[in-house]
């Protein structure tokens, strides 16, 4: 049973990622998806800002590593980048359906390199994101346990 956090969250923000990590750890506590080992960045491009956040999938836990100007500083293996509006639409879909549907899944949004794009330090690092596709999707789907997400 996941404890919902039904307060409003600004995206992107550290508070949002911290809350997402918290509900994800509860959602994945049965370990049924297996462990994941991946330090992954999320780059959000707004009209007048670029913000970067790092998540560490560390075994059966997910940890928030922090906000950074440079993914390399936090040893990020791969990151996803895209416009703020794409992220907001994705989370809106997740909150409306309790999970991502149709073209709003993480894989669907990144498949063609747009509207979101996965950047690995090399192809093996990019492929590592695919190795944990279901865990990453569950992480994003956990936004369904959060309150309204606004920009």
């Amino acid at each position: 049973m996941v404890t919902e956090i039904k307060t409003q969250f600004k995206f992107p923000s550290e508070e949002f990622f911290r809350a997402l990590v918290k509900v994800t750890n509860e959602a994945l506590s049965d370990k049924s998806l297996g462990f994941a080992v991946l330090k992954m960045g999320f780059e959000v491009i707004g009209l007048d800002f670029v913000k970067r956040y790092v998540i560490n999938f560390d075994g059966y836990e997910v940890n928030y590593e922090g906000e950074t100007d440079d993914f390399d500083i936090l040893q990020t293996e791969a990151y996803v980048t895209g416009q703020l509006s794409v992220y907001l639409d994705m989370f809106k879909n997740i909150q409306e359906n309790s999970k991502a549907t149709g073209p709003n899944t993480f894989n669907a949004l990144t498949m063609a390199g747009f509207p979101l794009n996965i950047q690995g330090k090399d192809q093996v690092a990019t492929d590592k994101v695919f190795r944990f596709a279901e865990t990453i999707q569950q992480f994003l789907d956990s936004a369904a346990f959060l309150g309204e997400i606004i920009s």
Partner: protein, 373 residues
């Protein structure tokens, strides 16, 4: 007396409590050392220390005895033919094995089969044709490792164990796509000779080198991209789940293949040309796959949402997928230390936006490989 003969004297001595205890006194193992389990449990990497942790480049014995054990001098020769570590090893093997074991899933339990919606006929046909193709190709990635497993020296047991996980993964992929084809009123579609030709090329490989390059790097790289596309194009959440779970497994196999080739070439760069030759042949057949209607059209129709719409945007979608497949494959070759951007042998028409340096049009691959069409 040989070791296999019954030692009646020993039975009599043992009855009197006169044990041999030689195994107890002569123990040369890592006695007294206790590895600390990592966060996820006691892993292969955690126990990889001391004499057990040393994986020899060229084992002297051909035995199933564990590394680090006190091995009798007269153990039989098991007849292994893959006896050099660089032929099967990769630096990510131990982690990939643990990951594979941890992330197993069930095609029966973990797919929400009861939620399959009724689909338009052309969409159901397309997903069934794609499922037929995938069910057909996936099992070769079990057959090939299985064919080579018993030939691999037991000192490389982690490589054998990883290949065992791959065999299980591929059995499950074969299962899940057959189930999808048969679960929703569609059924199995066409099986093409050109596909079988590619599978035969892998299965008939004369060496593990050849087969691994064709399967782990080229073939599974293509299938990984198809799985990603399948998730993208899936007509319902049921197929999305199938493709996402398969994608994870396939990416592990590709990670092994890429890093194994890197390990191999770093230790013997002189063999690079052999690998180029294997991939030349594999790419010829890949070209034919890209022009096979049963491979291309189902995804074009799924992308467009129907046969009629596919005439307008289906080809565009197929182009994006093909470019993705080729670019990711070339990037893996780069990572492995076998750059093929100047060498890949695909017609210009199939190379639109990939970062290939070779601008010469080379249609020989297509002309030479019209197999089964």
């Amino acid at each position: 007396m040989t070791d296999t003969a019954i030692n009646l004297d020993y039975i009599e001595r043992a009855k009197k409590g006169e044990f041999d205890l030689g195994w107890l006194k002569d123990n040369k193992s890592e006695w007294g050392t206790k590895p600390k389990p990592s966060k996820i449990g006691l892993t292969l990497r955690d126990i990889s220390y001391g004499s057990y942790g040393e994986v020899p480049d060229n084992p002297k014995l051909r035995t199933m005895a564990p590394r680090g054990s006190d091995i009798d001098p007269n153990v039989p020769d098991m007849g292994y033919t893959v006896n050099r570590k660089m032929e099967v090893w990769s630096d990510n093997l131990l982690d990939l094995y643990e990951e594979a074991v941890s992330r197993q899933w069930s095609a029966t339990r973990d797919i929400p089969w009861t939620e399959l919606p009724e689909l338009p006929k052309d969409i159901e046909h397309s997903i069934c044709q794609l499922a037929t193709l995938l069910s057909e190709v996936e099992m070769v990635a079990a057959d090939f490792p299985a064919k080579w497993l018993w030939r691999i020296n037991h000192d490389f047991v982690e490589a054998k164990m990883f290949l065992c996980t791959q065999v299980m993964d591929e059995a499950r992929h074969t299962e899940v796509f057959r189930k999808r084809a048969l679960a929703n009123g569609g059924g199995l579609g066409k099986a093409k000779a050109v596909v079988e030709q590619f599978l035969k090329l892998i299965l008939d490989a004369q060496s593990y080198d050849e087969g691994s390059a064709l399967m782990h790097l080229l073939g599974e790289g293509i299938v990984l991209s198809i799985f990603r596309a399948g998730e993208f194009l899936a007509p319902s959440d049921v197929e999305k789940k199938i493709f996402r779970l398969c994608m994870q497994d396939e990416a592990r196999h590709v990670a092994y293949g890429t890093m194994h080739l890197k390990y191999r070439l770093e230790r013997d760069p002189s063999i690079a040309e052999d690998f180029h030759a294997y991939l030349d042949r594999g790419e010829e057949l890949m070209t034919v796959l890209f022009t096979t209607p049963e491979v291309v059209e189902p995804m074009a129709i799924l992308a467009a949402g129907g046969v009629k719409q596919a005439e307008e945007i289906g080809v565009f979608a197929a182009d994006i997928l093909r470019e993705r497949i080729v670019e990711e494959y070339l990037a893996r070759c780069d990572k492995a230390g076998l750059p093929r951007r100047d060498r890949i042998n695909l017609p210009d028409a199939l190379l639109n936006n990939t970062e290939v340096n070779n601008t010469e049009v080379n249609n020989t691959a297509v002309n030479n490989s019209q197999v089964g069409n």
